[in-house]
Amino acid sequence: MKRIYLDYAASTPLYPEVVEAMKPFYSEIYGNPSSIHQFGQEAKKAIESAREKLAELLSCSPEEIVFTSSGTEADNLALEGIAYAKKNKGNHIITTKIEHHAVLHCLKFLGGQGFEVTHLDVNKDGFVNPEDIRSAIKPSTILVSAMHANNEIGTIQPIKEISKITKEKGVAFHTDAVQTVGHIETNVTKLGVDMLALSAHKLYGPKGIGALYIRKGTKIIPLIHGGAQERGRRASTENVPGIVGLGVAAKIAKDKMQEFAITQTELKNMLIDGILSKIKESSINGSRNDRLPNNVNVSIKYIEGESMLLNLDMEGIAAGTGSACSSGSLDPSHVLMAIGLKHELAHGSLRFSLGRLTTKKDIEYVLEKLPQIVNKLRAMSPLYKGEK
C-alpha cells in the first residue's frame, strides 16, 4: 500500500549522509572522548567538529553549545539550570500556556520546589503579547521561557521583540526551538535569546541527541553530575555517534533549509486551501502567516481526531491530532484549548506536518481521501445534522 508520512513534526527520517557519517562511531572509532590516547582523541575531534557545525547553524561559538540526550533534557537543563543558579536573586519564572510539556511539566516541578510560575495567555492565533511579558516581569523574575514555534499549531512567536524586553529588564530568556532549528533561521544573536533548546531528530538527525545553546556568561547549575564533560555543564560520556549525526544534519540544514522552506510552504498552502475548500465547517488553527513552513493544523467539526487518524492510517497516511483520545490522557490539547477552541473542535483536530520527502502527489492523495473519511465519520456522528 501507498504510505505517506505527514508527521515530520513528531520525527523525521535521517539523511542518508547522516547515517553514513555515524556508522564508524559504532564500530571503528569507539574510544572514550575523555581518554588521552588516539582512540579517545579521534572521538573527541569528531565531537568538536560536530559542535562547530551546529554553532554555524546557530551563529554562535562552539563553546556555547552543550550536547544533551534530547530536546526535553535541553529544556530541563535550561529551566532548572537557571532556576537553581539564580535562586538567591529571585524565584519568579514567566512562560506561556502553549509550551511543550518538556517546559510546562518541568516548570510544574519547579513550582513545587518554591518557584513561582506565571503562565501567560496567547491570542486566538497562538501569539503571546510581548507587552504582557513586560507587565509580568517583577523584581523577583529570573527567567522567561517562550517557545520559538509551537509544535502543534506552528505559530512563530515574536522572539526578537520579547528578547528586547528581557535584555532591558536583565532577565534570562530561554526558547524551546525544537520545531524551528533546521527549518527556519535560528540565529541566536538576531533572536537575542540566552538559551535555545533543540533536538536532532526533528531535523533529519538521530534520536537520543539534543543540544542547548547557552550564551557566554550565562551561569547554570548542571542537571547531571559526574565527570567534567561539556565543560562541566553536563556529565556523562558523550553520545559520540549521535553528536556526529547532529553535526552532519546541522550542516545539511544550513545549506538546504531555505530551499525546503519554499517547497514546503507551497505544499502547505495547497493542503490548507484544499481542506478548507473541500470540507465544509473546517477551520485552520494557528496563524496563517507567521507559521512554520511545514505545519498544517485543522479542526473538522462534528467528528473526533483519533477516528480520523485511524481512517487515514488505513489509507496509508500518517498524521497527528490534539484529541485526548489519541494521547491516552482525557483532556484535549492544552494548546488548542489555550487558543480558545471549544472541546469538540479540539478533539476534532488534525495535524499534518510536511517534510523534505513530501510531494505534490502526496498532498493530492490526502485531499482525495480526507473528505471521504470526513463524510463517513460525520454520517455516524450524533452531532452532525447534515450540511448547513
Binding site: Y302, E304, S307, M314, C325, M380, P382, L383
Partner: protein, 145 residues
C-alpha cells in the same frame, strides 16, 4: 498493519454494524458530552420484552465506535434483563480486548445501553431503570476529576 487495537476492534471501527438513527425508537439513550470527547446515542426497538433492533450514532475515538457497534450486535434478540447483563467488560472481551487507557470508552457504551433501556421503561411503565444514574454522575465516575 500495526495498530493499538485488535483486529476485531479495527473491523468494527472500519465497518461498524447498526450505524444510524431509528424512526420511532422505543428507547433512546444519550450519554457523554463534548468535553470528554465521546458522545453516544443508542436507539432500541422492543417487542414482547425482547430487543428486536438496535442502532447507534457515536462521536468518538476508534474504541468508542467499535464498542458501540459491538454492543448493538450483542443486545439484538436479547430480553431487557439479558441486555442489562451485557457489561462493558463483556463488550470489550467480545472485541478481543481494549488497550487499558481505552476501557473508559467501553463504559460509555454500557451506559448508553442502560440509558436507552431506562428511557424505554419510563415510556412503558412510568418508572425508569432502578439505580440508573444520569450522565453527569457517570461522567465523573468514568473520567475522574
Amino acid at each position: 498493519m500495526a495498530s493499538p487495537y485488535s483486529t476485531k476492534v479495527m473491523d468494527h471501527f472500519m465497518h461498524p454494524r447498526n450505524v444510524g438513527e431509528m424512526e420511532n425508537p422505543d428507547g433512546t439513550g444519550h450519554v457523554g458530552n463534548p468535553t470528554c470527547g465521546d458522545i453516544m446515542e443508542m436507539y432500541i426497538k422492543v417487542k414482547d420484552n425482547v430487543i428486536t433492533d438496535a442502532k447507534f450514532k457515536t462521536f468518538g475515538c476508534g474504541a468508542a465506535i467499535a464498542t458501540s457497534s459491538m454492543a448493538t450486535e450483542m443486545i439484538k434478540g436479547k430480553t431487557i434483563d439479558e441486555a442489562l447483563a451485557v457489561t462493558n467488560k463483556a463488550v470489550a472481551e467480545a472485541l478481543g480486548g481494549l488497550p487499558a487507557v481505552k476501557m473508559h470508552c467501553s463504559v460509555l457504551a454500557e451506559e448508553a445501553l442502560q440509558s436507552a433501556i431506562d428511557d424505554y421503561l419510563k415510556k412503558t411503565t412510568g418508572k425508569g431503570l432502578p439505580g440508573f444514574k444520569p450522565h453527569d454522575d457517570i461522567h465523573e465516575e468514568v473520567h475522574g476529576n
